[in-house]
Symmetry: C2
Subunit: 150 residues, 2 copies
DNA sequence: GTGGCTGCAAAACATTTGCACCTGT
DNA sequence: ACAGGTGCAAATGTTTTGCAGCCAC
């Protein structure tokens, strides 16, 4: 068994979830594909599972993703579409910049913005728990924009 | 005819939409209720229409809201729930602070955050078009928190 | 007159749930 | 053994669409 699998088993145990084949498969799938895809919809994952002959139902994908979010293994984003996308939580939380033309996503983290967010919340009498920040725009350099040519 | 209605007719004409009864009704409804409700779901509006005996179908509500968003009369927000809420655009764009316990929403606008957003986008080669920023937390002063007691 | 608008019902989607069976501990 | 997990199909909730008739321009 790979070292990655071993780590994932411990991860599941640590967060109090049983070590089952669908959960390990989904976890590995997201880790293995993180270079090509940072943000997965439930459907994305389901299709990837089908491709690799995994017999995991779509309902299970949703259930597992929800559980993973609850225990902090991943984060749910809403972006502008109607469906949720999920992203593995590595060490750090971050915000996103999305090109509306090509769908490219950059990540960033800005201490100044976060400091202001905290100040503003306090001024309004709110104890800040989390925030969601997305910047939408278009690639300035058109040649580097993989425009999907809609 | 009220002055408000007159203004709304010109607004519709200016954005290139025909002046129809459903559109005027929905527009007036959102304006008249803006003190009690800043953010309307399609269902909210539909129910309010029913209450005032307006014979407007739910499909029309959705179509009108979408058109209003396209021409900039209102803004669609996704917040954390599964359904969209809409807000009339007055002069200024702003961001939101939401109390997760009582659902209270504050609005704010911060020049410093917006300046940083622009800088960060440029640094990543993106021409910033719009952003979405929501701060989630809980009322620090519990006595002022209208906790829905779920 | 006619192209856009509307209401209704049906369809489309993403997501959740009920249930009988299976599996990890 | 048994609580929790799973697959499937059916249900849910929101939003969209097809279509026949209607209305603003």
């Amino acid at each position: 068994m790979s070292e990655q699998t071993q780590q994932n088993k411990e991860l599941l145990k640590n967060v109090g979830l049983k070590i089952t084949e669908p959960r390990l498969t989904i976890l590995a799938l997201m880790q293995d594909n993180r270079d090509v895809l940072q943000h997965f919809s439930a459907e994305d994952i389901y299709k990837l599972l089908l491709e690799q002959q995994s017999e995991v139902g779509l309902a299970t994908v949703y259930r597992v993703l929800n559980q993973f979010e609850e225990v902090g293994i991943l984060t749910r984003h809403l972006f502008d579409s109607n469906k949720a996308v999920f992203e593995l939580n590595y060490n750090h939380q971050h915000d996103h910049i999305i090109c509306k033309d090509c769908g490219k996503v950059f990540e960033f983290k800005d201490a100044e913005i976060e400091r202001r967010q905290k100040e503003i919340s306090q001024k309004h009498g709110i104890e800040l728990e989390k925030h969601s920040l997305y910047l939408y725009g278009t690639c300035s350099d058109l040649s580097s924009c993989d425009n999907k040519e809609k």
